[in-house]
Symmetry: C2
Subunit: 358 residues, 2 copies
């Protein structure tokens, strides 16, 4: 039986990537050692990290004004590194609150300056992205922080604000899933474990001039400048994670790059939303303006029936469909690596389940 | 041809561990997914992290007064987290300077309080551990920081100071290689990539009461308390690294635990030092009182001959024998995973090379 893993993260990686990593796990490029057993300063890993950066730059069309960094600690560490490095002295920063992860970023920002929440959908249970034309950013903000896709609520920005302050986006759950203009952002960051690779690695794309803001007393490992100046090699980077991210980047290139994968992602999410919208059995709690193409959340007529759905689906090889523990319901995470066949299998199962129980 | 990888880190892992990880890389416990593709809150990884902690506690005989934490950022991040969390308000901390890595720890400590270097072997090129009975720790120190094994200089503590202040040891390069009494330490930490697993993970063993010192304004991800209170699950931990560390711990148990591996490590290092001491061709730059059982460094009559040695050894499958770029010479890193056969192959090669070139 084929297994399709709809986990929100750590999430499935492309089958081809997993198989290649397995085949060379104990012997990388005829060295007799696995990649993770080789020195990070040796020729093999040097080539891996250089190609990975170069492929990411090509895929996302990143200019030389930006650095591409590999940092440990996940997006959660970025919640602190951002204000620590980028809050202007005595200044303030603006945040949009669109869910659990935004709220965590806001909490960590508060230790380093004045934090202003300029938009929030908390009052409607984070069921939408607040309408951007109503946002009123102030002049002089250190930066504006947004969360481009919200894994718990199942919402996603379909356009971005225009701001004077550098815009910083947590793209942990939709990076490289759609074409974006990097030049609109001061910084983009993403924990790897959804669209990019294994947990334990965050990708940080930062406009180099912003890193000059960092106060002198920030510890070396927490300064963006350290990663920029050393090509992320101040200390031993998570070599196996960088290698897997590199394999994922090459896989994306083989799929036609971000343009190619975005087309596939559109078809995948449309198939699920079409079924939900045409159903009297399934229901989307998300405002149609803000639906995520990565995390499709939906409800059934009762919580008992949702539990039954999750259990029956798992028996059919459709795994990890349970919604986040804070909101319940069903969540199908369909990141880049989820093939169309997995979505088709879920659609078939949903139709059959509704027929039996509706 | 058998390949033996003498890299100082990332370093070789036990063959049995690599083979098991490879065999279940794409399908962990019949889930149809690799371990790294599974949710960190699911039953499989929960069992992995619980067993890993429990096996580490058993191997090192760690009491309930201590927490065992899995932290990202390597030992270098600990250089900052230690003073950030454990420097007493307005206080000072003591450090012993025994090499490159001690010096880095000292540098990061300076941002958070007064740092006193109470012992140093810098004047003799770090060729020894300063004689401990001459150390004069002061009352009231926040902690005393030491580096138990020094990978660059090839030195190691063979006894530890007795102190009133909590002793904190960077054991990145000799953790679990020999029996130590954890109760003598306030905290022990180690980057995984030498004796424990892949890079991107640090093991932190900390006396729980010390974590109560942390000032309130320390960011969540940089507080030891966060890791203690959430069993290292505040955010997504580096799941694959924890899993590999768990496999290494089970492998160590199969070798008779730390007692068993220490016996093997003694035999391995003695074989090399005996050859060096009986040779007129090879020479140890390290004071005999302080020689490392993990990183055996030695010199040949000339740098040209050292380059030849490294090149010829690589042709015989004896790889990564080059000394650290800051000191040159030869370095054979023989951590737990290096089998006796690898050391025997090196001994044979060294004898043959000396015969040909001596």
């Amino acid at each position: 039986m084929a297994v399709y893993n709809f986990s929100a993260g750590p999430a499935m990686l492309p089958k081809e990537v997993m198989e290649q990593a397995q085949s060379e796990f104990c012997d990388f490029q005829n060295t007799g050692s696995g990649l993770m057993e080789l020195s990070h300063r040796g020729p093999q890993f040097s080539q891996v990290i250089e190609e990975t950066e170069s492929d990411i730059r090509e895929l996302m069309n990143i200019s030389d004004d930006y650095a591409v960094c590999f940092v440990q600690g996940g997006a959660s560490m970025q919640f602190s590194m951002i204000p620590m490095n980028l809050m202007l002295p005595g200044g303030f920063a603006e945040y949009a609150d669109t869910g659990t992860w935004s709220a965590k970023a806001i909490k960590e920002g508060k230790g380093f300056g004045d934090v202003k929440v300029i938009a929030s959908s908390k009052e409607t249970n984070y069921d939408r992205i607040p309408v951007i034309r109503h946002w009123k950013p102030e002049a002089g903000s250190s930066y504006l922080h947004i969360t481009s896709n919200n894994t718990v609520a199942g919402t996603q920005y379909h356009s971005f604000p225009e701001t004077d302050a550098p815009m910083i986006a947590d793209m942990s759950s939709d990076i490289m899933s759609r074409v974006i203009d990097v030049n609109k952002f001061g910084m983009i960051y993403a924990g790897a474990q959804k669209n990019l690779g294994p947990s334990g690695l965050a990708l940080v794309i930062i406009r180099k001039d912003l890193a000059e803001r960092t106060p002198a007393n920030v510890p070396t490992m927490l300064k963006y400048g350290t990663y920029i100046e050393t090509q992320s090699m101040f200390n031993t980077p998570p070599t196996f994670g960088v290698y897997l991210l590199g394999l994922v980047a090459k896989w994306l290139k083989s799929k036609g790059g971000i343009v190619g994968i975005e087309e596939i992602n559109d078809v995948k999410s449309e198939a699920l939303y079409e079924l939900i919208d045409n159903s009297t059995f399934y229901r989307s709690p998300v405002d149609p303006s803000s639906r995520s193409k990565m995390n499709v959340v939906f409800r059934l007529p009762s919580e008992d029936m949702e539990a039954q759905f999750i259990a029956d689906a798992a028996k059919e090889g459709l795994k990890s469909l349970k919604g986040h523990r804070s909101v319940g319901g069903i969540r199908a995470s369909i990141y880049n690596a989820m093939p169309m066949k997995g979505v088709e299998a879920l659609v078939d199962f949903m139709n059959e389940f509704a027929r039996k129980n509706g």
